[in-house]
């Protein structure tokens, strides 16, 4: 059992999500940065899809009721274990009663705390992920929460330390054609791929809004609602794009101009408000 002492700005339990129910209106949700969830799990010898804690900008503090191997990956950060400094990106052994705090990351937004055995809260529709849009799955963590830990069956890995993710400013992400690329003017498509975008202040697990020069549409019809995926770049009437994250709505009524590939979605999930981003079209 892990006891939550402080939860920071937002700490949620996430695994790789609940795909397969989008046709019933259920968002896949799951870790915003999947590669980092997988990395944290690998460090403690978990299956890559085990549930872990997604921590927004640090501030999480826990006590281990029994001894446990833990690891933090994703946004690189420092740990305090009973006030002794330690670091993310390597496995850490906690003895029963040890208290650990995850500090605010130096760069990036979301760190992942995996516990050997996985966080063993009840699965909802096959996943332990919090879906904050629909209120499915475990609620965001609060002080006093007691989190059960599963039993590990895989061998403890021989990994000592993982390389830290490189910070890139501005972040360059690939853009693949979307279903409604042709709803935008040629000038807008060029502008999308050349201007320096700034991450807006109201980002969340649903998506990242970008500030910049609005994109002009060639076709101004209303779009009947159609399916969305993680990485879809949707342009609402403001002309300012939204990159959808893992907790995206399943359908939407604004045109999707392009799609960010999976690997780049992980990096987008680490952007902070004010960070720069440039798209480069893969093909058009």
């Amino acid at each position: 059992m892990i006891i939550v002492e402080r939860s920071g700005p937002l700490a949620v339990i996430e695994d790789l999500g609940r795909p397969g129910y989008a046709d019933l209106g259920v968002s896949p949700s799951g870790a915003a940065d999947r590669g980092s969830l997988r990395a944290a799990n690998r460090l403690v010898g978990n299956p890559e899809d085990a549930a872990a804690i997604e921590i927004l900008l640090g501030g999480l503090s826990i006590t281990a009721q029994e001894s446990a191997w833990i690891a933090v990956a994703g946004a690189p950060t420092d740990l305090l274990i009973n006030d002794r400094a330690d670091a993310s990106h390597h496995p850490v052994y906690l003895r029963a009663g040890d208290r650990m705090e995850v500090l605010a990351p130096r760069t990036g937004l979301r760190s992942y705390l995996a516990v050997r055995g996985g966080i063993d809260v009840p699965a909802v529709l096959g996943s332990r992920s919090a879906d904050l849009l629909a209120g499915l799955g475990p609620a965001p963590l609060r002080p006093g929460d007691r989190l059960p830990v599963g039993r590990s069956t895989l061998p403890q890995p021989g990994i000592d330390v993982l390389p830290l993710p490189a910070a890139e400013e501005p972040l360059r992400v690939t853009l693949l054609p979307g279903p409604r690329t042709d709803w935008f003017t040629e000038a807008a498509l060029n502008s999308l791929g050349s201007q320096l975008w700034r991450v807006g202040s109201d980002l969340d697990r649903t998506g990242v809004r970008l500030d910049g020069e609005p994109l002009e549409r060639r076709i101004t019809d209303e779009l009947p609602s159609e399916g969305l995926i993680r990485g879809a770049v949707q342009v609402p009437p403001s002309g300012l794009p939204i990159i959808f994250g893992s907790n995206h709505p399943v359908t939407g009524g604004y045109p999707v101009v392009g799609v960010v590939p999976d690997a780049d979605c992980d990096r987008v999930a680490q952007l902070r408000p004010g960070d720069g981003l440039r798209f480069s079209w893969a093909a058009r």
Partner: protein, 210 residues
């Protein structure tokens, strides 16, 4: 406008592992969804219907012959036994019933008859788990959304907006016009399937004394 009149289907790009099949209309997309579900192609991991589209989640690139067939095939209508029919008992006591009827120059009785006098079909789901966008199979009305959405619409509210109808599965903010309420549970994570309504389901609303 010309580009809105989709005469054939189109298979549109959607990143590295999805395609969007744009169909001629809702009926065509429902026929295609049924046809694709019968094919059980291993490349297609999931289908997410929209108002006239099918989002295809892919595990491998679509073979060229399948892509061609999806554009050209004229699929049979969805067989009646393949579509579930759900009856939903409604108390027509919604806060917006009289005002919506007024705006349409109908009596509330006529508006209720419009709602109960035909089957509705789930076009697609969205907004919330179990929230189905129900398209009329008979006459359609155009109902504007509320200019100011409500911050809280109770679970089980029966609503209309544009030509759609829907039932709110859980309490949520909402901008649709409320015409009634039901006790039917639309979404239950412990049920299999968890949603009462899924794309293609037909719905018959039945009037309860209010």
């Amino acid at each position: 406008m010309a580009h809105d009149q989709v005469r054939t289907r189109r298979l549109l790009p959607y990143g590295e592992s999805a395609r969007l099949l744009e169909c001629q209309d809702l009926d065509d997309s429902q026929r295609m969804a049924h046809w694709l579900s019968v094919q059980r192609r291993p490349e297609i991991a999931g289908i997410v219907p929209g108002a006239r589209t099918l989002l295809l989640r892919l595990t491998a690139p679509l073979p060229a012959e399948l892509a061609r067939t999806m554009i050209t095939i004229q699929p049979e209508p969805v067989p009646a036994q393949a579509a579930a029919v759900v009856t939903i008992d409604v108390r027509y006591d919604g806060a917006d019933l009289a005002e919506v009827a007024d705006g349409l120059r109908l009596s509330t009785e006529q508006l209720i008859t419009h709602h109960t006098g035909q089957q509705w079909v789930v076009a697609f789901c969205g907004f919330a788990p179990g929230f189905g966008y129900l398209a009329p199979t008979g006459p359609a009305l155009r109902v504007p959304r509320r200019s100011t959405p409500r911050t809280r619409v109770p679970a089980g509210s029966v609503a209309i907006a544009d030509h759609w109808s829907a039932v709110y599965p859980t309490a949520s903010p909402g901008g649709w016009q409320l015409i009634g309420s039901t006790d039917v549970q639309l979404f239950d994570v412990t049920a299999d399937p968890p949603a009462l309504l899924s794309p293609g389901t037909r719905v018959q609303f039945r009037r309860l004394p209010s």
